[in-house]
């Protein structure tokens, strides 16, 4: 695995989805797993990210995640702008991670992410 470090926005994830199949095929949402924006990892969709999602893990601030199980989505803070785009506009250059069961880690939180060797480091990290 390749170690990537940088900064991110760590969001407190809603626990109501724990036990559900999220936006990553084959993965069940669990506490301390992450919902992400696939394009920040270089993939166009949750489906495209799915082969690598179980292996990607790391920390944002004081929160850790053991794998990726979902895709950030839903209601946007900016009407007419997709939530994934909006979050990246609000927190430019930062890796956006939402972790069910974790506390909000705020913006510019230190991030360490481990990705498969063949993958590029995600946005906000190198």
């Amino acid at each position: 695995m390749k170690k990537c470090t940088g900064v991110g926005r760590g969001l407190a994830g809603n626990t109501k989805f724990v036990g559900r199949t999220g936006g990553i095929p084959g993965q069940i949402i669990q506490l301390n797993t992450a919902a992400v924006i696939p394009s920040q990892f270089g993939y166009p969709s949750g489906n495209a990210l799915s082969p690598f999602a179980p292996y990607i893990h790391g920390t944002v601030g004081n929160a850790s995640f053991t794998s990726i199980t979902d895709v950030i989505g839903g209601k946007s803070p900016i009407p007419g702008v997709n939530v994934r785009t909006a979050m990246q506009q609000l927190f430019p250059g930062q890796l956006i991670l939402e972790i069910p069961g974790a506390k909000d880690q705020g913006a510019d939180a230190p991030v360490t992410v481990y990705v498969p060797q063949a993958s590029a480091c995600p946005a906000g990290t190198s």
């Binding site: 109501k16 199949t21 936006g23 949750g46 489906n47 839903g74 209601k75 009407p79």
Partner: protein
Amino acid sequence: MSSGHELDLGEGVMRLKQQWMYFLVVCCMPARVLQGQSYPTVLSVQREFDVSDVGEANVSLNLSSKEGRPIYRVQCHSAEYTGDPEFDYSGDFECRLSSLEHRTVYSTLLTEDVNQSRDWERRGRFFAADLQGECAHIPDFGATRSFELRGMSLTLHIVDPTFTDNKLRSLKLTITVRPDSQAVRPIAKAVPLPTESPSSCKLSQYFANAEATAK
């Protein structure tokens, strides 16, 4: 005297008319909005789509107002679809409803959650298991799902699904839209999960609780 009395009567009638108009505006207009009348009336439509390869599903249907103006769009794709950066499709087949006239905060109007936090939330997404055996017959969570919102009723009805190794391969989808004056929410009316269902249907795995999302 007579004309004066008539003039007074005319003023009184005018005042009554003004008061009546005030009553209509102040009291009745909010009720009309609450009853969903603020949304344009949608034209009834029923269309069938033959999806011979779900992996390549590309369903798109514009819904028009009674004046013929396109106001909403229904799109259905599989998780492999990446042509819509506004929405992350998942499951085996997923439908999305969006407004063509107004920018909304929701990624799909089929959500039932005013605080929607996932694109896949909640009944617009289909899994192969939802369409097989008795699971297919569960109202609103199987092969036929109705959504009430914005002065309309929208029904997604899947028939003749085929599977290879339990993976959804093909289907026929009928989209039916009718005006519905009882549908007042800006997003879909919440439909609770059935209290009982076969475990093989995995409803609690595939759907979030309406109780947690409806408020």
